[in-house]
Symmetry: D2
Subunit: 173 residues, 4 copies
Amino acid sequence: MITVISATNRPNSNSLKIAKNYVQLMEKQGVEAKLLSLEALPADFISTELYNKPSENFQQLLNEFIIPAQKFVFIVPEYNGSFPGVLKVFLDAVHPDTNRGKKAALVGVASGRAGNLRGLDHLTGVLHYLGIHVHPNKQPISSVLAMLDAEGKIKDENIIKVLEKQIGEFIKW
Amino acid sequence: MITVISATNRPNSNSLKIAKNYVQLMEKQGVEAKLLSLEALPADFISTELYNKPSENFQQLLNEFIIPAQKFVFIVPEYNGSFPGVLKVFLDAVHPDTNRGKKAALVGVASGRAGNLRGLDHLTGVLHYLGIHVHPNKQPISSVLAMLDAEGKIKDENIIKVLEKQIGEFIKW
Amino acid sequence: MITVISATNRPNSNSLKIAKNYVQLMEKQGVEAKLLSLEALPADFISTELYNKPSENFQQLLNEFIIPAQKFVFIVPEYNGSFPGVLKVFLDAVHPDTNRGKKAALVGVASGRAGNLRGLDHLTGVLHYLGIHVHPNKQPISSVLAMLDAEGKIKDENIIKVLEKQIGEFIKW
Amino acid sequence: MITVISATNRPNSNSLKIAKNYVQLMEKQGVEAKLLSLEALPADFISTELYNKPSENFQQLLNEFIIPAQKFVFIVPEYNGSFPGVLKVFLDAVHPDTNRGKKAALVGVASGRAGNLRGLDHLTGVLHYLGIHVHPNKQPISSVLAMLDAEGKIKDENIIKVLEKQIGEFIKW
């Protein structure tokens, strides 16, 4: 099972739009994926989930999206030159042995030009620490606003092509 | 003005203990510093403060600890191979132009052996992005449990020496 | 085929000693590996090999150790807080498409305590850029001088155990 | 004294062109700078200078460009997703205490779009390790070929503006 994670809790984010496109691009290659938006994290997450056993609600989220998944795709916006704090808060709340040996693909999202390259590097360090394999084909999407149409569909053919290539490699991996 | 930031909201953390020692070591060199523990972040922080104007409470915290400070010391525990998500959530909630040109010193805290070296590197990338100068003398504290006595005082003379040296350089900077 | 690379041209380096131990530990698990020490790089390497077609001698080295290998183990000492420049010079001289899709395991070597953690992170970034998969189980060896006996054998049982575990995972990968 | 370092030994490199522009932009602000191109490294550098005392020639280079300098500007091309191996070889050959407390500004150069962002991050880690202050205003130049005219002058007004701003900040620093 594959879970695509939109790595921000910002309402109606560009990353969520990219994530929805990504799930559809996977379907075109015959693969089902679940979509987890970090908007799902409850408001009091940093108080309730970081240093305790998971609450019933969070355990349910883990049971549906994290524990059964063998592969993850992280769609990661750039916040202050790296990945969102909310993504790390989420990872900090998951038992560090939960995902050892699993596999991850990374997509960066930025309004600027470097496509959150640094955020993907930082995330690679954290995922490797957690024993998660990271596919070397990482896709940084720059100038994301110009890449999406009014319905939130990716309109840039080049982006679609590189994402399709990444998906093809990740499925077979 | 200098603010020492204990970069986790974990209750009664070792980082907070180190931070209190750090404030006292600064006093010994004749410098007052404020202490901000990220325990102060309200439970619903990721819901209320990330994509809106600061709430009144958060603005008050910024007014007391962040806006008037010219220098910051970050005491940063290692969570999953990097710095805590809560620290990045905090930084993501502060307007990115708030601290340009200010100065930071970094102290890593870990129960393992590398003293959160990677977390300090990641944090350097984020702080530089925010226009904050980072002092090259970064102090990673390893095996933190063995470094503290029962009252939370640093008992390791070597650690005290390297922190005093860091403080001396940081004050004059 | 697997090539173990001792990533420095320093004569009689501790990294080369670790690399020889590593090859023997692989043999104990039934796997042959070639050993390439970067001492093999000719004295005028930065002049002759960086911006030209490989010389006959360098092509021979590539033909023996790099092109037929499907997996690499990098034994990487810490030089000035990262990996040796000589390793990057070597990688810069190899055509960037040579090793796409291959696999690498990383071992850090340092006289200090962090086992060249930063060097392994930097190398991960470069190898991923080159399309090489990097195993998340990276082994930083600290205080290397205390780990070797007079004959250059690893005498620390813990180090041997973690390397054997890494080898086991890497062979099956 | 300020030394601008063109961080590759590639003959006639774009980085050297950028470096020459940079020196002129500094002159326009009333500051003299020396220019060191790593083309100056002798062919057998990795054999003669890494693990010995500096040769007479290299000592002369150090005496002219490194030891008297209080500030460095590194013009750093992207080689395989990071900075050139030759730059690290050069740094590995300089005694690690030579430049403690000095200051550096970084400019990335790439034919691609991220302007060698990762290389500047890696270099920051190394320079901080060496006790060198790194200015947070780092300038990554992307698509360098489109930025230069036939005489090797920067023709992009935006690039000139951001470099002039960086120079202004660096001079006063």
